[in-house]
């Protein structure tokens, strides 16, 4: 039984002026699967997520979305005007009406419940990312789109955050589309990797992609080794703040 198809992208191309940013990219997103887009700077990763989201509509090719698809989105950057008073609780209710209890439990998932009353402008980059990550899980999304969710988060917090994204997928049974630079950290949580460099270099299971010559040309062979380090020698856990404790499992 194959999981429900949520998005089918066919031959997506996009240019800005003379600059070809995406060239005939095709892929599918299925329910309860995590898809990670990796690629160097300027590879078109954010542009591709914007097309999936409907933020960019002047592209060629086709996007089929499941009817009534609900998306939760964490953009790469959020700049909230200082002239606008906005606390974390109100930010959580930005596009949907959600109860205070739901807000609190969502924030607790990313260990930032204590930020509920804080003004958004006073948060650090890492705090804001955790709040925004929690926000994407509200309102039963079918798909959550995360554009570099761990930028600004300390390295030890990242591992935990990716684990959490896996838990969201299991609990909400939603698809996840993730843009990331942290290849070795992401790989173990991912069902499908899209290796992008304006065109789709290769795609598929993480193990297969990491052996692909185009992937190795882009990222070098050593990334495969660090993947091994992370998947086999991880015998302790970090909380988001970076504290270490013994593994109980």
């Amino acid at each position: 039984m194959s999981p429900e198809l949520l998005i089918r992208a066919k031959n997506i191309s996009y240019s800005r002026g003379d600059n070809r940013i995406l060239d005939r990219v095709s892929f599918d997103l299925h329910r309860a699967q995590i898809t990670t887009i990796i690629g160097p700077n300027g590879a078109g990763k954010s542009t591709l997520t914007c097309i999936v989201n409907g933020l960019i509509d002047q592209f060629s090719g086709e996007i089929e979305r499941a009817p009534g698809l609900r998306i939760g989105y964490l953009p790469q950057r959020v700049y909230v005007n200082r002239l606008m008073p906005l606390n974390v609780e109100r930010l959580m209710q930005l596009t949907r009406q959600v109860s205070e209890a739901e807000v609190e439990s969502a924030l607790a998932q990313t260990e930032v419940a204590y930020l509920k009353g804080r003004q958004v402008q006073s948060l650090s980059e890492g705090e804001l990312k955790r709040v925004l990550l929690a926000r994407t899980t509200l309102g039963n999304p079918d798909l959550i789109v995360l554009d570099e969710p761990t930028a600004g988060v300390d390295v030890t917090g990242e591992v935990k955050m990716y684990k959490l994204i896996g838990e969201f997928r299991d609990r909400l049974q939603c698809a996840v589309l993730l843009v990331s630079h942290d290849l070795h950290l992401v790989m173990s949580q991912t069902d499908q990797v899209l290796c992008l460099n304006r065109h789709l270099c290769c795609s598929g299971l993480p193990e297969a992609v990491s052996q692909h010559p185009e992937y190795q040309a882009l990222f070098g062979q050593h990334t495969g080794e660090s993947l091994a380090v992370y998947s086999h020698h991880h015998d302790h856990v970090h909380d988001v703040a970076g504290h270490q404790s013994d593994h109980n499992g």
Binding site: N53, L55, R70, L83, P85, N87, E89, L91
Partner: protein, 270 residues
């Protein structure tokens, strides 16, 4: 009630209350979306609208509505998705509109309309017909604000998140521009161009200092607006100052008092 409306002071106070109550939410949205300068631009360009209306022997309000609508529609066509209007574009429109308006007004017989009336209106000369128009516009705008409030706020915070999560950002934004145009066009006869622009920005700036959420800021803006109106009309009456400028100065005085009192107070930052 009907006899009460015969009193010019009652009519002008009601007009002022309506204006303040719609300026609070509209002003907040404009400040959040960095559109404060747009109200100024529309105000100056409206001078051209008045001139056009008079030269073409139409109701000046129709001239203003036409010019203001033309500006917001063309601006929203050139406005790219991620950028607010460029200040330069707004400044060019603003100065051009004012210059063209002055030339048009100069071509008219000198008695027909004064620039001062356009800039500050004449609250105390509010007629029953003016009051009817203002009431209808305020109710329409309040209805649209209630209906689309969550979308308006979401677009103010992040167009990207709003669009991705199912809000038609371009439509919402365009609706807002139309609402601003309508507000300026209908209110300007009584309030004047400067009073509208000032009441959209000054009370909201004071309210910002005290608020933790967008909705609180609207309520505080309303309170600031009402206080400015009351003190402004009172001063105007007792010192024999023009009403519009008195309200603006009182709003600024209230803003300064708030600034000095709450300088060190940042709600929700700890």
């Amino acid at each position: 009630m009907a006899e009460l409306l015969d009193n010019f002071l009652v009519r002008s106070v009601i007009a002022g209350l309506l204006m303040v109550s719609i300026a609070a939410p509209m002003g907040c949205l404009m400040v959040w979306q960095r559109l404060a300068f747009l109200s100024d631009t529309l105000g100056h360009a409206a001078v051209m609208g008045v001139g056009l209306g008079l030269v073409l022997q139409l109701n000046p309000m129709i001239g203003v509505l036409a010019v203001v609508l033309l500006i917001v529609i063309s601006l929203s066509q050139v406005n790219s998705f991620n950028n607010a209007f460029s200040e330069t574009t707004l400044a060019i429109i603003s100065h051009t509109g004012l210059a063209a308006g002055l030339i048009l007004l100069g071509a008219l017989p000198s008695s027909s309309i004064s620039l001062e009336a356009i800039l500050f209106g004449d609250l105390l000369a509010t007629t029953r017909a003016d009051l009817g128009m203002i009431l209808a516009t305020t109710l329409l705008l309040l209805f649209l604000l209630f209906r689309h409030w969550r979308s308006f706020v979401a677009v103010s915070v992040s167009r990207e998140i709003a669009q991705a999560e199912g809000i038609a950002v371009r439509k919402v934004q365009f609706l807002m521009y139309l609402m601003i145009a309508l507000l300026v066009a209908v209110m300007m006869k009584v309030m004047g161009v400067l009073l509208i622009a000032a009441m959209l920005v000054i009370p909201t700036s004071g309210a910002r200092l005290l608020s933790k959420t967008p909705e609180q800021m609207v309520l505080f803006s309303l309170a600031f607006g009402l206080a400015s109106l009351a003190t402004g009309i009172f001063t105007s009456f007792h010192l024999d100052w023009q009403t519009g400028p008195s309200i603006v100065l009182c709003a600024t005085a209230l803003l300064l008092i708030t600034l000095l009192t709450f300088r060190h107070f940042r709600p929700g930052s700890h």
